[in-house]
């Protein structure tokens, strides 16, 4: 999460905040199944991001963008 302002500062156009520097595509506090669901949510959010027109660094929050888990 604390890398987000840096990414925006250097001009990364599409940014998906995650939960920790050592595990950008995971969350070791979750059990394996829930962690995999979280990773899926991150990728779904990333696909929404690359499908969205942006003009400046834009944050896509995985808790708001991706569909709710079934």
């Amino acid at each position: 999460m604390n890398l987000v302002p840096i990414a925006a500062r250097v001009g990364a156009p599409r940014i998906v905040p995650t939960r920790g520097i050592p595990f950008p595509a995971g969350d070791p506090s979750l059990d394996p199944e829930a962690e995999r669901a979280w990773r899926r949510r991150l990728l779904e959010t990333a696909l929404v991001a690359v499908s969205t027109e942006v003009h400046k660094p834009t944050i896509f929050d995985p808790m708001l963008v991706a569909p709710a888990p079934a």
């Binding site: 890398l3 990414a7 500062r9 250097v10 001009g11 990364a12 156009p13 599409r14 995650t18 520097i21 050592p22 595990f23 950008p24 595509a25 995971g26 070791p28 995999r36 990773r39 899926r40 991150l42 990728l43 779904e44 990333a46 696909l47 690359v50 499908s51 969205t52 027109e53 942006v54 003009h55 400046k56």
Partner: protein, 344 residues
């Protein structure tokens, strides 16, 4: 002297991004911006005998491209080589830099023209880098400076500031000088100035330039997607010796035949965070398991068969910019429409 001019596919009139993979080729005489250059060189008694051109993607990402381009220039009888102007264009600048550097190393005096912020600048040596300005509106001035610098080179001289040569000290370079006040006094004065709405500073913040966002993809289900990381995730044992900090390299490793990043087969050699959690499940750095699932379900058309990796840890901005240009060129050539890069 016989001069050969190097330009990209765009200035050669071949085409834009759709022609960025054009292979190196040669034409007699001047082409495009080379015409004005030829006229300026003729006034000094030099002849622009040929123009060598190449697509930017090929020129900037194909390892042998500079040598192939130089071979065409040599075939055309080059006694002096001029590359560019590339202005702020990254791939074109890198190509010009490498071609000029290769020529110079082969004993052919050479110069490359580009903006001082171009990621190609650090690769121009031992050739000469001439400041072209940042955009094509400076074309006229740039060609004049290039011809002047070429004339000096042709006489065996060293072009300098008068010919627009980019010096070792960039605009942001710092020089030592004696300040009349102590650091504490200056800090207080700066704080007071700031409180009064001032913007005085002793150290200018770096300018990262502007990154124009790529157009969105129409539909991920029709897209080839790449997964990339700067988390220094490499095959176990780090066979290519990726640096753990201040990386000067990036690598490409195959994902073909893999459905997951298995623990024990990959490891992060990043020196900026504890890698224990990532090494226990490398999908936490490179989300291959879910990406494969999305490929199988049709949520994306296909996953790019390789992943690209470097170590983002104290990496120089110029190096990182460079890696970005090379990654973009490589992915574009491979037909990738979208990239997901994990950052640590």
């Amino acid at each position: 002297m016989k001069v050969v001019h190097y330009i990209n596919q765009f200035f050669a009139g071949i085409g834009g991004e759709d022609k960025a993979s054009t292979l190196p080729a040669s034409r007699e005489g001047a082409v495009g911006p080379g015409r004005k250059l030829a006229a300026a060189l003729a006034a000094e008694g030099h002849e622009l005998v040929a123009t060598v051109y190449c697509g930017d993607d090929y020129a900037a990402s194909e390892r042998n491209a500079p040598a192939e381009i130089l071979a065409l220039a040599t075939e055309a009888g080059a006694e002096l080589l001029i590359a560019g102007p590339a202005f702020g264009s990254g791939r074109y600048g890198i190509a010009c830099a490498r071609v000029a550097a290769a020529a110079s190393a082969a004993g052919i005096p050479a110069l490359a023209a580009m903006d001082p912020s171009n990621p190609g600048v650090p690769e121009v040596a031992p050739a000469v880098a001439v400041n072209s300005g940042d955009a094509a509106r400076h074309m006229g001035d740039a060609l004049t400076k290039m011809a002047a610098a070429a004339a000096v080179l042709a006489k065996g001289g060293t072009p300098g500031e008068a010919e627009g040569v980019i010096g070792g000290a960039s605009a942001g370079a710092r020089r030592n000088s004696l300040a009349p006040l102590t650091a504490a006094q200056r800090a207080v004065l700066l704080a007071l100035s700031r409180l009064a709405g001032g913007k005085t500073t002793e150290i200018k913040l770096p300018d990262f330039g502007h990154v124009a966002p790529a157009a969105p993809i129409a539909d991920p289900r029709e897209a080839v997607v790449a997964i990339l990381t700067e988390g220094a995730l490499v095959p176990f044992g780090n066979p290519d010796r990726l640096e753990s900090a201040r990386a000067k390299h990036w690598f490409r490793y195959p994902l073909t035949g893999r459905d997951t990043m298995a623990a024990g087969e990959f490891q992060s050699v990043h020196g900026g965070f504890s890698t224990v959690v990532a090494n226990a499940d490398p999908n936490r750095l490179l989300p291959l398991d879910v990406a494969r699932e999305m490929e199988a379900s049709g949520e994306i058309k296909a996953l790019h068969p390789d992943y690209l990796v470097t170590a983002g840890n104290g990496t120089g901005v110029a190096d990182a910019t460079h890696f970005g240009v090379e990654w973009a060129a490589e992915l574009r050539r491979a037909g990738v429409q979208a990239a997901i890069l994990t950052a640590t």
